[in-house]
Subunit: 228 residues, 2 copies
């Protein structure tokens, strides 16, 4: 799959000019953002909760406790997951044209319960997405932990990406308004690693943690460098 | 309303120790975060989209084009809105205990269509939340724009807040693992304002934009100062 082929529910209704069709943009956004919001219909009303996730090729994985009701309800049901990075606030010459610069993905899928080898690979992908280096550095899941963890797969076939960037777009009749217009960028960066108070002093901060800042940028923005 | 009084669907099922009951924490989180994720059931499957919002007392307002299907579907229906700020990644001594430091609110409500004076106040709250100073600095909505904008109100009565902060919590049997453990904080900050290329050079950056950085912090974290 190279293109995002829209279905009726993954087709941008409003602001269709912001829709992107390159699957590489979807992958890049999912690889950069750390948190998604998963919506599931539970007992007749929608529920949406934040979740970590991991990606392998064109499948997204989420996990949680087997005791979490919304994950049980999601299995084999249609769900929706959105991932959004806010890159800035757009101040226009009219309130109506105020906006946000952002990158956002929306995934529609029937959630599939994952087991066996795929579950192991999925947990590795989720772990390495949130905390790169952990899979090799920390203790891996034991059978009891594996049994207590549910993993769901969301196929990325039916997904959409929207991006807004750049300056405000105002009505011609507002261009002479005596009012500032522009973008206030929002940047994210990693702070200084804070060792656990119980950690022996001789254990150093690993490279994967120490060097995460400039490389991952944690949603610094599409094409801006690290900000210090 | 001073306390968050849980209903069955706003009661934390998992990790109940992370639930907060002080309504002031809900208000503070909603005032700090700029983006929420609104879930609506559309044509038999859940849909979740990012949205700006505004708060007046214990009512949250969202807005959008009257042409946006998911907003039309939301009117007079049960919806769910989640607001999440990611404050850091928690590296534990086992992958199973890896976690994230975050603050998250989930609002369950029947969306109520807003009109008249309340609509005007709601649009002001939404505008001032995203772009403080705009309501007085830029042109306010005209009748055509008002008619093209739908506003929904979500009562905050049925809401929950979860917070995780601090160091990793590991199993006793993992405490001697030869592995780094700690927190990598994630901070956000405003960048330098970027004036619109078409803006006359003599219009200065307003105080509300220039001074936003340290005051609002844009989700810098619960109790940390601005980071530069």
């Amino acid at each position: 799959m190279t293109d995002l082929s829209p279905t009726p529910r993954s087709t941008a209704g409003r602001k269709a000019d912001r829709a992107r069709t390159d699957r590489a943009e979807l992958r890049a956004l999912l690889d950069e953002a750390l948190i998604g919001h998963l919506a599931v219909q539970v007992a007749g009303s929608p529920r949406v909760l934040p979740t970590g996730f991991g990606r392998i090729d064109d499948v997204l994985y989420v996990h949680g406790s087997t005791g979490a009701r919304y994950l049980r309800e999601a299995a084999d049901r249609e769900v929706c997951l959105a991932v959004t990075l806010l890159d800035g606030v757009v101040y226009a010459r009219s309130v109506f044209h105020n906006s946000a610069n952002f990158r956002s993905a929306v995934v529609h899928a029937r959630a599939r319960t994952v087991d066996g080898d795929e579950k192991w690979r999925a947990l590795r992908a989720i772990s390495e997405h949130l905390a790169p280096g952990s899979w090799d550095g920390a203790r891996r899941p034991n059978p009891r932990e594996l049994a207590a963890t549910a993993v769901l797969a969301l196929d990325l076939a039916e997904s959409s990406v929207k991006v807004r960037d750049g300056a405000p777009v105002d009505d011609e009749s507002d261009m002479d308004n005596d009012c500032w217009a522009g973008v206030l960028p929002l940047r994210r960066q990693w702070g200084e690693p804070q060792p656990c108070p119980l950690l022996p002093a001789e254990i150093p901060v690993p490279d994967a943690v120490r060097t995460r800042a400039p490389r991952d940028q944690a949603g610094t923005g599409p094409r801006t460098g690290s900000h210090s």
